[in-house]
Symmetry: C2
DNA sequence: GTCTATAGCGGGATAGAC
DNA sequence: GTCTATCCCGCTATAGAC
């Protein structure tokens, strides 16, 4: 029985886990084969070489996110749009347990030969949309006009991004020594949305902040 | 003339640059020697092996930051304390152009043999202090009581952390295609402090946010 | 589609001359 | 302290049988 797609999926799964855990250079073809339960030489039947296997791993994960982020309704209240983008971001980070690490490595390796334009896709997808939402909110008076839209977009995105990518720090600091429970992530997402809304909305405030 | 310290410093500089750019596994002893302008075999005179060289690289950078973060005055207004911690964080990220990448790799590699407890030092240093500040602010009424202190600390730290670590994304998205100018980082730090203050301060606000 | 065997290269680390 | 020479290992990738 020809198990082409099944075998290649097993290879991709094993490769994803190992690339995430060890990085591109430290992951060996043999290790991937062993982890996948197939003969290492077989990898070269399905993928041209190690780099293309790596890129296939990334494409499988990042592809659907680009789709998902574009799915925001064109006309939507800015604050609600921000909430949805944060939720989509969380969903992406949780779409595989290895996504945050793969992303961290991609950030570090962005100029390496094996790197992907993941970066472009993620930014053009979500970031641009977020900037538009902020501008729209400043126009209709729901968002403070003194905020720089690009900086604000970074501030909003950073919360969830950092929460996942810095998970070894975060879980250590919060007292979970063996990785964070999934519900904690959902609660943080709630917090992140509220934190962002609170920072961003206009307010009739009399107090001055120190210069 | 015995140039012990000079030579070892040159080795550390070269190693730092290469470990940041290529990662631990992809960086070769020969490449470090060449980059440093010394004979590759000489590295083994100064450092026991590749891993200890890597750890020496990290220790050199992280050491002084742990000191710096602890330097906050014990009695300080919470909002001002937050400002200072953010500034210290920026200073650390800029203490060498390679720090953000090294940190990104350390986050991804945290369970590898070459990894350092950098993570513990950074969190116990800055994060705990930040949580204390938030709690103090909630006690004296300057900080919203409904915020979770740990989550809020993460939100504050994340802004600057992400800004630097995700620099390939950030500079691309902001239109700088060849790396970010240094002044932009200072402006972002200003923004991050204001964003955090705005999110965190109590306010006499009548509007409800959507549930 | 899957396996065995191996070519060919480049890495970390050491011995020992100077 | 610095350099040359080299050992030994494990990796990527391929050839070719089944």
């Amino acid at each position: 029985m020809a198990q082409t797609s099944d075998t290649s999926a097993r290879i991709l799964d094993a490769a994803e886990a190992l690339f995430a855990r060890l990085g591109f250079a430290a992951t060996t073809i043999k290790a991937i084969g062993t982890e996948a339960g197939v003969n290492p030489a077989l990898l070269y039947y399905y993928f041209a070489d190690k780099q293309q296997l790596y890129q296939a791993v990334l494409d499988r994960r990042v592809g659907d996110f680009a789709r998902r982020a574009a799915n925001l309704p064109a006309e939507i209240a800015p604050l609600e749009g921000i909430r949805r983008l944060v939720k989509a971001q969380v969903a992406f980070m949780q779409s595989s347990p290895h996504v945050p690490r793969l992303l961290a490595r991609e950030l570090a390796d962005h100029e390496a030969a094996n790197a992907r334009p993941v970066i472009r896709e993620l930014s053009t997808g979500a970031f641009r949309r977020l900037c538009e939402l902020i501008l729209a909110g400043q126009d209709d008076g729901t968002i403070r006009p003194d905020l720089d839209p690009a900086f604000t977009a970074i501030s909003i995105i950073s919360q969830t991004a950092w929460f996942f990518i810095a998970q070894p720090v975060v879980s250590g600091v919060m007292g979970y020594d063996g990785g964070l429970p999934a519900e904690e992530a959902a609660q943080f997402a709630e917090h992140a949305v509220r934190f962002a809304h609170s920072a961003v909305t206009v307010r009739p405030d009399r107090k001055r902040e120190q210069p």
